[in-house]
């Protein structure tokens, strides 16, 4: 009997020990990002490996904001990611609803085709896409990026939205239709409010994917005016040196919109809104 509390303590320790280890593993790179971003250049190589520099300041942040094109990259990224998130989520919601509720000819093949698009490595199709977008004047343009990102995110986002629609009982729409709604009215006033968590999750997923995309942004846009911040981060790597301080400061700044975005949508991400719709 006396071994029980000991075993429980051990179990508890193991439980939280593993959680703690995972937390350190996941968050340490972020911590290092912040640490390097506040380390003055003269201490970067002279102090050896330390958890926190003996002197910290924000000079890298100041120079990133005032002496580089980073504010422009940042603005471009916000525009591209927001537009991609909105367009993709609208398309995905419409498609996901159709897949969830209707049976129509060719549904199997359309779903299959959408899955196939997810199977190719992106590198394979960069050249054809470049050839397609060039004559249309969509290279070196944010619009071009939005179109490409939307096209690549819609399939997965559609499956995501479909799963959210599938979780909402059909009877809710049917009840609304009998109460006097059209199908579209039922979708708008009954189903949509219940899909907010799904819409928020999809928005968040697509926004993050577009925000951190490098390959297309680098290949399709070469002008500074149409570069996004991941491309901008590369500009801190010059032929002879890497400006780690500024690069890390820019990285920390780039985290802010994503964090802000998730802060905005987090209350919709909370599940359980449909609880109480059916039986009990």
């Amino acid at each position: 009997m006396r071994s029980m509390p000991l075993r429980r303590t051990l179990g508890w320790g193991l439980h939280y020990g593993i959680l703690g280890l995972y937390l350190v593993f996941a968050l340490f790179p972020l911590f290092w990002l912040v640490k390097v971003s506040v380390t003055p250049n003269d201490l970067l190589y002279s102090e050896g490996v330390r958890l926190w520099p003996s002197r910290a300041n924000l000079e890298h942040y100041a120079s990133v904001v005032t002496h580089t094109d980073f504010p422009l990259f940042f603005r471009n990224s916000v525009v591209v990611s927001t537009a991609t998130a909105i367009f993709s989520t609208c398309c995905a919601a419409a498609g996901g609803y159709a897949f969830s509720r209707f049976s129509f000819g060719g549904k199997f093949w359309i779903v299959g085709l959408m899955l196939v698009t997810q199977m190719f490595p992106l590198v394979m199709i960069i050249a054809p896409i470049f050839r397609l977008l060039g004559p249309l004047g969509l290279t070196n343009s944010l619009t071009g990026l939005v179109i490409v990102y939307t096209a690549f995110n819609v399939p997965f986002a559609t499956f995501l939205m479909q799963s959210f629609f599938d979780a909402i009982p059909r009877e809710l729409e049917e009840a609304a239709m009998i109460d006097g709604e059209t199908r579209f009215g039922a979708l708008l006033r009954i189903i949509l409010p219940l899909t907010l968590p799904g819409l928020a999750a999809t928005l968040g997923f697509v926004f993050t994917a577009a925000w951190s995309e490098l390959l297309f942004a680098l290949m399709l846009n070469s002008s500074t005016a149409a570069s996004t911040f991941p491309v901008g981060l590369l500009s801190f790597v010059s032929k002879f040196s890497v400006d780690f301080g500024q690069m890390m400061a820019a990285g920390v700044l780039a985290l802010i919109p994503v964090c802000g975005f998730f802060f905005l949508i987090q209350r919709y991400l909370v599940q359980g809104l449909t609880a109480g719709a059916v039986k009990g």
């Binding site: 049917e174 009840a175 239709m177 709604e181 219940l194 059916v278």
Partner: protein, 363 residues
């Protein structure tokens, strides 16, 4: 309230026929129960009436008007779903007033109607709650409330009580019946529970495998089942079916079960006045509550006794075939005891072995 006519309705899902030609006329104000095992097509028929599914063939008329091409919203019906289907993001008040708002009813009238329905259903204190804060029984009442706030042409109920516990189900059965008495609206009620069908219906429509097996009052279906399906489905405990051998004569039918003579019945005809089966092999239907333990009669051996409080269900071995009888006689019976059974001639039903159809007394 309106009459509902269903004319030659068929429904196929892909190549699978679910309804194979349904004809049914429901009078204004009638309470009709569609009953049958799962998959018999009763819910599909209800959904066709509601407009939630499209007909494959046939016609549905509500109040004399053909509604096949009308969307659900234009059919002016109210429906209570098995899962209740309450709008989770709306309060009880919101749920109940939704259909009225869509019909642009003035706000004061909505408030008044919702309040009256809430009083009737005992929901007055719960109007500002969301469905997730309600118990199963309360949700069921809200679903009922959503239906009764307007005066629809008919009410459709799709197994509305199957998610409730036994006691609550009994109470709601009574309340739905009372509501029907007060409102007098045409109602179609789908259930797989024959007790619900028996206690609530003006008329029962017994369905199996996409066809109507029999339509009639509860008493009619109990006393005069058309075939083995209806006979076995209606009544609890279920009717016994045993193999028998009949000798069909001009004046009388002699029935034997096993080697023993069992009963002398009137002369019998097949449905449609065909001749009874030549080989004399029939299915004998005996209601457990119509079998009496007597001093003399067919011999049987007691297999098991199940007390139910009101009486006992006695499982017997009758010439090698299992038979149940229900008795309120409290005389203790021992397992293995030999007893004699007696059944009045009018309580012995004969069915054709091939078609399951009931043989009727000739003349």
């Amino acid at each position: 309230m309106s009459a509902i006519e269903i004319l030659g309705v068929r429904k196929d899902f892909g190549s699978v026929p679910v309804l194979r030609g349904i004809d049914l006329a429901i009078a204004p104000g009638e309470f009709v129960v569609l009953v049958g095992p799962s998959g018999c097509g009763k819910s599909t028929l209800l959904r066709l009436i509601a407009g939630l599914e499209d007909l494959s063939a046939g016609e549905i008329r509500i109040g004399g008007r053909k509604v096949d091409d009308l969307p659900p919203k234009d059919r002016d019906l109210a429906m209570v779903f098995q899962s209740y289907a309450l709008y989770p993001h709306m309060t009880v008040r919101g749920n109940m007033s939704y259909s009225l708002k869509l019909r642009r009813t003035p706000a004061e009238k909505i408030a008044d109607t919702v309040k009256r329905a809430a009083v009737k259903l005992g929901l007055l204190g719960l109007l500002d709650r969301k469905p997730r804060a309600l118990s199963g029984g309360q949700r069921q009442r809200v679903a009922m409330g959503r239906a009764i706030v307007r005066a629809p042409k008919a009410f459709l109920f799709d197994e509305p009580l199957s998610n409730l516990d036994a006691r609550l189900r009994e109470q709601m059965r009574f309340e739905i019946r009372k509501l029907h008495r007060d409102l007098g609206a045409t109602s179609i009620y789908v259930t797989h529970d024959q007790i619900e069908a028996m206690t609530m219906a003006d008329r029962i429509v017994a369905m199996n495998e996409g066809t109507i097996q029999q339509v009639g009052t509860p008493q009619d279906l109990y006393d005069n089942p058309a075939n083995t399906f209806v006979a076995g489905f209606i009544g609890s405990p279920a009717m016994n079916f045993v193999d028998g051998m009949a000798t069909f004569g001009q004046a009388a039918t002699e029935l034997a079960i096993g080697t023993e003579r069992f009963a002398r019945l009137p002369a019998m005809r097949m449905p449609g006045s065909a001749d009874p089966p030549r080989d004399g092999r029939v299915i004998v239907g005996l209601r457990p509550e119509r079998i009496a333990i007597a001093e003399t009669g067919a011999g049987a051996i007691v297999d098991l006794v199940e007390p139910t409080g009101l009486g006992s269900v006695v499982h017997l071995d009758l010439a090698g075939q299992p038979v149940k009888l229900f008795t309120t006689d409290r005389r203790p019976l021992a397992v293995g005891e030999h007893i004699s059974l007696r059944v009045a001639a009018e309580d012995v039903l004969l069915f054709d072995r091939n078609t399951g159809l009931r043989l009727r007394a000739a003349g």
